[in-house]
């Protein structure tokens, strides 16, 4: 992977993609008729939410893989997805209220969608806190994997919340059935932004995996140094 698509090239592609995506938000996508300019938050809020959900799905896969095979690579994969996913989920919780205030007149309400997204953010926090506070790395990996698997229940319920229950959060405009939908240019802006966010997410995960490899190398060298002192 590193030879075919080196990290520097990945960073350049991500940067260019994000610049194009930003151009589409501000200069290509049409202005929404009822909300006006503030609706453009949609193009960063929704892709952040989808990326956070993809991240939790990757945590789930990595956690299942780790509990099944006990391979460090699966654990690193889940941990990397958790760190990057936490960043995107935080973006959802920051951009959402900034869109809600001018449109609904309130920053926040405890409806099903908002509450379940907040629970998703807490699950990312719980996963990362477990990694930080449990001293034994093997035990931390197992406990985090359990959180990663059980917590995944939140993702489909969060996604379906606006379809199952009446919420303050708007009903789905994407895959929402009859009467829902987007202007073709809005679709382009949305999908290009989501692609850019996924590219950034993949880059952040790669950086985490490099960090994890460094941590293992340092731990190995420390053990060797300890052994040298002992003899």
């Amino acid at each position: 992977m590193s030879k075919l698509f080196p990290p520097t090239l990945h960073l350049i592609v991500t940067f260019v993609w994000l610049v194009v995506a930003s151009y589409l938000i501000f200069f290509y996508a049409p202005q929404e008729s009822t909300m006006g300019e503030v609706q453009r938050i949609f193009y960063i809020h929704v892709p952040s939410a989808w990326t956070a959900m993809v991240a939790y799905f990757l945590i789930f896969l990595g956690s299942v893989g780790y509990l099944w095979k006990r391979q460090d690579a699966a654990d690193d994969f889940a941990h990397g997805a958790a760190e990057a996913g936490f960043v995107f989920c935080t973006c959802v919780l920051v951009t959402g209220p900034l869109w809600a205030k001018p449109v609904w007149g309130i920053w926040w309400t405890w409806d099903a969608r908002l509450t379940l997204t907040f629970v998703l953010w807490l699950l990312f926090v719980a996963y990362l806190m477990l990694r930080s506070y449990v001293i034994n790395p093997g035990r931390a990996a197992v406990l985090a994997a359990v959180v990663g698997i059980i917590g995944f229940v939140d993702v489909p319920v969060d996604y379906m919340a606006i379809r199952w229950w009446r919420t303050q959060h708007p009903q789905p405009v994407i895959a929402g059935g009859e009467g829902s939908g987007l202007d073709a240019r809005m679709w382009v802006a949305l999908l290009v932004n989501w692609g850019a966010f996924l590219c950034l997410f993949a880059y952040l995960m790669r950086q985490y995996l490099r960090l994890a490899a460094l941590q293992r190398e340092v731990a190995h060298l420390r053990r060797r140094q300890g052994a040298n002192f002992a003899t």
């Binding site: 501000f26 006006g36 300019e37 503030v38 453009r40 938050i41 960063i44 809020h45 952040s48 760190e83 990057a84 960043v87 935080t90 973006c91 920051v94 951009t95 900034l98 869109w99 205030k101 001018p102 950034l200 952040l204 950086q207 985490y208 490099r210 960090l211 460094l214 941590q215 190398e217 340092v218 060298l221 420390r222 060797r224 140094q225 040298n228």
Partner: protein
């Protein structure tokens, strides 16, 4: 184009990404430095 909520949302989004990138870069730098020191102590190149 100059909606304050839009500018704030967009700015905070990039602020959050930048903070995480800075944090992970710092962690990598510290580990690389520690690795070099350990290698030196162990007599490796």
């Amino acid at each position: 184009m100059c909606n304050v909520y839009l500018v704030l949302a967009y700015g905070l989004l990039w602020g959050i990404f930048a903070i995480y990138a800075w944090v992970i870069h710092g962690r990598q730098q510290r580990l690389e430095k520690e690795m070099q020191e350990l290698k030196r102590a162990l007599g490796q190149r």
